[in-house]
């Protein structure tokens, strides 16, 4: 798993975000085992306490559960995963819209741009 941390945001919240994405994309399969705190910390080059904190938050959100002596596992609740997926998607869209607004595109214009781009890609795909 390729980790990418920005230096001006708390690492733990970035980690929570990236872990959610990994679950949603299926990289960590539902019911699958997560790497141990130490493994993940070493792999990502970050502090184990940070990893612990991130896992804690994911557990509170119900995305991850701990099985004593076996470690941490992704939930098998596919509905839960779907909810998270939608949350992440909505967050992406919000960010996208904010970006477009800062470029000067209103909502209607943004939708137009999206259509144009989609058509353009379809034409390219056919030719």
């Amino acid at each position: 798993m390729a980790w990418n941390f920005q230096d001006n945001l708390p690492i733990y919240s970035q980690l929570v975000d990236q872990l959610k994405r990994a679950v949603v994309s299926g990289e960590y399969a539902p019911g699958g085992k997560l790497p141990s705190v130490r493994e993940l910390a070493a792999d990502a080059g970050i502090n184990p306490n940070t990893v612990q904190r991130a896992f804690g938050e994911l557990e509170r959100d119900g995305l991850v559960f701990t099985q004593r002596t076996s470690g941490k596992f992704v939930t098998e609740d596919t509905e839960k995963i779907e909810t998270i997926k939608q949350e992440l998607a909505r967050s992406e869209i919000r960010h996208f819209l904010i970006s477009m607004f800062s470029l000067g595109y209103g909502r209607a214009q943004t939708m137009q741009m999206l259509e144009m781009t989609r058509e353009g890609e379809e034409t390219n795909a056919h030719s």
């Binding site: 230096d7 945001l9 690492i11 130490r38 080059g45 970050i46 940070t50």
Partner: protein, 234 residues
């Protein structure tokens, strides 16, 4: 109980004040960055923790006790200088550490030596500076100590070794031990730090968790450091 505690710790070298009323408590399980410009008192603090220096006033406590041979048995110190015995070869250095330190883990050390391709027959005298630094780090990190004091651990090594060193610090993580890293290469280490302490002219300028700085200030620890210790005025 904090593994390292300073109570109004002050150290004067003649007229110069190296540390001025420092209050600090570091709990086990934390990786702490001791950050500050040259002359800020970082090395003085570390030397006091080792018993190499005596405080002028105030106290420094390791696991609740003043520095002594007993506390040195649980403190693993990586000095800024190369403190290896030059006529010894690798095997003899391992013997030495094993002899004096009950918490030395020889197999771990040998494994790391293999990872870094350091030949066991070589004497310290024959080693390059980079190899000596790696050797010293391996010896220090192979001890299962309660407090690690690393004075500029990544200063003189290449980026790949730097990564290996940080990786070793993380993999050695022990919730009953604390690691104090004194450095000015902040950008390289900040991701592995729990907490940071900014030291300026013998006083603590800032003490916070690394994530809190990023959250509250919206910038990296490195960026904040540059701001706090700006050398010129606009």
């Amino acid at each position: 109980m904090p593994i390292l505690e300073c109570r109004n710790l002050t150290k004067h070298y003649g007229p110069v004040c190296a540390l001025d009323g420092v209050d600090l408590a570091i709990e086990p399980g934390r990786i702490v960055g001791l950050l500050g410009p040259n002359g800020s008192g970082k090395t003085t603090l570390i030397k006091l923790a080792n018993g190499l220096l005596q405080p002028t006033s105030g106290e420094i406590l390791i696991g609740g006790e003043a520095p002594s041979p007993k506390t040195r048995a649980i403190v693993s110190y990586l000095p800024e200088r190369i403190a290896l015995i030059d006529w010894m070869n690798v095997r003899q250095q391992l013997d030495f550490f094993q002899d004096f330190y009950a918490d030395f883990q020889r197999e771990a050390a040998e494994q790391m030596l293999a990872h870094l391709s350091i030949p066991t027959g070589q004497t310290v005298r024959q080693m390059s500076k980079g190899t000596r630094e790696k050797m010293q780090l391996i010896l220090v990190m192979s001890r299962k100590a309660r407090l690690y004091l690393l004075d500029e651990p990544i200063g003189g090594v290449d980026p790949a070794t730097r990564d290996y060193i940080l990786h070793t610090i993380i993999s050695n993580y022990n919730p009953e031990a604390a690691v104090i890293i004194s450095t000015h290469l902040i950008a390289d280490v900040e991701n592995i730090l729990d907490d940071v302490i900014f030291l300026n002219r013998g006083k603590i300028a800032l003490q916070s968790s690394a994530d809190e700085i990023r959250e509250k200030q919206g910038k990296s620890v490195d960026a904040l450091f540059r701001e706090v210790f700006k050398c010129w005025e606009n």
